[in-house]
Amino acid sequence: MEKYIQAPLDEETIKDLRAGDFVYITGTIYTARDAAHKRMSEALVAGGALPIELRNNIIYYMGPSPAREGRAIGSAGPTTSGRMDRYTPALLDIGLKGMIGKGKRSGEVKEAMVRNGCVYFAAIGGAGALLSKAIKKSEVIAYEDLGTEAVRRLEVKDFPVIVVMDADGNDLYERAAE
């Protein structure tokens, strides 16, 4: 099914999403990948504040190529999500509701997703030029020293993704490889 949704997410929207749905996201999402996850996790352990409000938000696992003058962003496709698995359950437990990436997730992440009612989307890996068209604005909001791995706030319009894992734990990758 094709669905058009808004980010940040709400409970109703998440409940309605099923593994295999083609979804177009409009609104605000955030980027974070390996190094930013490590820092956020260290901040949590130390009892400090995170640079972004996670509640109801979506994190896109992505580090863009540099933007040319006059463009919002460079190439901007997903990176492999599994590398974030170690840090993810803690983020889901404090309100993160959606993730965009590519590739398999661990059992712990799946459990935390079901426990908290979250959704995991895949964007098409290796389609960074195409995906950049749906990103209208990009702004570094934290960890600027990390370069491409900094945390960015993105304004997206009809950003195309596919639901891989829904809040009930259905997994499209498992179905595909059967």
Partner: protein, 280 residues
């Protein structure tokens, strides 16, 4: 003896880094388009159609095909009658990478130390493989390698008794484990024989062979075809979301090995299998 100035190498490498990241080689482009027309599943056709669109946007808009513009892997086949002038070759190569990644708006994805992990901010150093060959030319191959697929690559030190069956099982195991992580449809480079490091270099170089150009050895060619068929029966499909096109090609290269061993390396590459080649 022929003299080549190292500044010439810098310039070539700069251009090749940019070219490889903006335009897939014609063989790769063709293979993806062919896969799109042969794909039987709806979701598979959808993804492959988007990949074709993506290649077009990249070329038209001057934006890398994929944001992971890779670590620059460079093969230098240097004729033994070549003399380099104007500074050391390795620095000249890295200067080419530095300029290419800066001027081409390519992503800087290299950390200077694997454990301290600070970004070098210019994508250097490259991984360089030198080979001395007959003649007075230099063949340069620039193959920026993304790590979604690199991370799913494997080396297996098999036993001679494992034989051909063992090799096939190893390749299939690596591909299945890679699944959606490696941005399928993949290109699978396989190196058989040599030593621990030799088979890995063979596998890497096999990725730069034009897609669907099969091995010259008949029994290897058969293995390439059989493995491609089996991989495409796994159901992994484009994006790992289900379908026929899990791999576009399997390239196998071999080298003599020790009486006690059967090393096998499987270097997985995504559909953004970049390689630019020039002869200087």
């Amino acid at each position: 003896m022929r003299t080549i100035r190292t500044t010439e190498i810098t310039e070539q490498i700069k251009e090749m880094c940019i070219e490889a990241n903006y335009f897939l080689a014609p063989d790769m482009k063709q293979a993806i388009e062919d896969a799109a027309s042969a794909e039987e599943t709806k979701i598979g056709r959808h993804i492959l159609g988007k990949l074709c669109e993506n290649m077009k946007i990249a070329g038209d808009d001057g934006i890398p095909v994929c944001q992971d513009t890779g670590m620059a892997v460079i093969f230098m086949d240097i004729g033994q009658d070549v003399h380099f002038e104007g500074g050391d070759l390795e620095s000249a190569i890295n200067e080419g990478v530095r300029r290419g990644y800066r001027e081409g708006y390519l992503r800087k994805s290299v950390v200077g130390d694997p454990l301290i992990r600070e970004n070098t901010k210019d994508n250097t150093p490259a991984v360089i493989h030198y080979q001395i060959v007959p003649g007075d030319r230099v063949k340069i191959t620039v193959a920026p390698k993304g790590f979604g697929s690199e991370n799913m690559s494997r080396v297996f030190m098999l036993k001679p008794a494992d034989g051909m069956e063992g090799v096939k099982q190893a390749v299939l195991a690596a591909v299945k484990e890679a699944g959606p992580n490696a941005c399928p449809p993949m290109v699978v480079g396989v190196g058989i024989g040599g030593t621990f490091e030799k088979c890995a270099i063979l596998a890497k170089k096999a990725l730069t062979r034009p897609v669907q150009e099969f091995s010259e050895l008949p029994y290897i060619r058969e293995m390439e075809q059989e493995l491609l068929e089996k991989i495409n029966q796994t159901g992994i499909g484009p994006g790992g979301l289900g379908g026929n096109a899990t791999a576009l090609a399997v390239h196998i290269d071999t080298y003599p090995t020790h009486i006690a061993g059967l090393p096998v390396a499987v270097n997985i590459c995504c559909h953004v299998n970049r390689h630019a080649m020039r002869v200087v």
